[in-house]
C-alpha cells in the first residue's frame, strides 16, 4: 500500500541511492592503496530522477553473468572518475571519498526524515 504513494516511493529510492553511493565510497577507500585502481561514482539522485532514465545497470539474468544487477534490483551504473594519479596508477583521493560519503549520509538522513514525516501524516489520518 505504501509503495503506491509517490512520496514514499521517492524517499525510499533516495535512501537506496544513498546506500549505493556509500557502498561505492567504501569500495574506493578500501582500494585506496591498490595499484592501478580508478575510483568510481554514481550519478546524483536529482539528475537520475529528473532525466526519467533510471540510470540502472544491465541486468544479470543468469548465474553466469559476471556484472549487472541481480534479482530485479535496480542499481545505478557506476562510472569511473579519472583524476590525478599517484605513481602507482591509483587515483583515489581520501578527502574526496570522505566528502562523497558525507554527501551520501546527508542524503540518507534527508530521505529518512521525509519518509518519517510522511508516515506521521499517514498515521494522523487514521487517528493514532
Amino acid at each position: 500500500m505504501f509503495e503506491q504513494l509517490d512520496v514514499f516511493r521517492m524517499s525510499s529510492s533516495m535512501a537506496v541511492h544513498a546506500g549505493q553511493r556509500q557502498a561505492i565510497a567504501s569500495q574506493n577507500v578500501a582500494n585506496s592503496d591498490t595499484p592501478g585502481y580508478v575510483p568510481k561514482d554514481i550519478a546524483a539522485f536529482e539528475a537520475l530522477y529528473q532525466s526519467g532514465h533510471d540510470g540502472s545497470a544491465q541486468r544479470a539474468t543468469r548465474t553466469g553473468h559476471l556484472h549487472g544487477s541481480v534479482e530485479g534490483q535496480q542499481i545505478a551504473e557506476p562510472f569511473e572518475v579519472r583524476d590525478e594519479a599517484s605513481p602507482n596508477g591509483n587515483s583515489v583521493s581520501l578527502e574526496a571519498e570522505m566528502l562523497r560519503s558525507l554527501d551520501a549520509k546527508r542524503q540518507h538522513d534527508r530521505s529518512l526524515a521525509i519518509y518519517k514525516s510522511a508516515l506521521s501524516v499517514l498515521r494522523s489520518t487514521i487517528g493514532k
Partner: protein, 130 residues
C-alpha cells in the same frame, strides 16, 4: 545483500588488508638487525567479484626486496668474511616508519567509512521506533 552490508564487507576487507600490511612492516622493523634479512613487501590487489558485489581488496603475494644488503664491518662477528665484513639486512627504518604511517592513515579512513555506514543503517532502523 543490501548496500549497507556490502559497504561493511568492503570496509572490513580494507581493514584486514591494512592490518596485514602493518604486520609485515613490524616484521621488517623487528628484523632490522638480523644478518642477511631481506625486507618483505606486500602489494594490494582487487579481489575478483561476482555480479554487483563491490570490489574488495586483498593483499597479494609477499615479495622479498632484492636490493643489495648492507655491508657491516665487524671482524669479531662470527659471520664475518675475510675482509671482516658481513651482510646486514636491507631494511631502512625510515621507509618502514613512513609506510606504517600511511597504513595507519588508510586504516583510519576505512574505519571512518565503517562507522559512517553503521550510522546510516542504524538511522534506517530508527524508522521502526515510534
Amino acid at each position: 545483500m543490501s548496500d549497507f552490508s556490502k559497504a561493511l564487507d568492503v570496509s572490513s576487507s580494507g581493514l584486514r588488508a591494512q592490518a596485514n600490511r602493518l604486520r609485515h612492516l613490524s616484521e621488517n622493523i623487528s628484523n632490522a638487525d638480523t644478518p642477511g634479512y631481506r625486507r618483505k613487501l606486500v602489494s594490494f590487489q582487487t579481489a575478483f567479484s561476482l555480479g554487483d558485489a563491490p570490489a574488495e581488496v586483498k593483499t597479494g603475494r609477499v615479495h622479498l626486496d632484492q636490493s643489495e644488503l648492507e655491508k657491516v664491518y665487524d671482524p669479531a662477528h662470527p659471520l664475518a668474511d675475510d675482509t671482516g665484513q658481513y651482510d646486514g639486512s636491507n631494511v631502512n627504518l625510515l621507509i618502514e616508519l613512513a609506510d606504517a604511517k600511511e597504513a595507519q592513515r588508510s586504516y583510519e579512513a576505512n574505519l571512518k567509512m565503517f562507522e559512517q555506514t553503521r550510522k546510516m543503517s542504524s538511522g534506517l532502523l530508527d524508522l521502526l521506533r515510534r
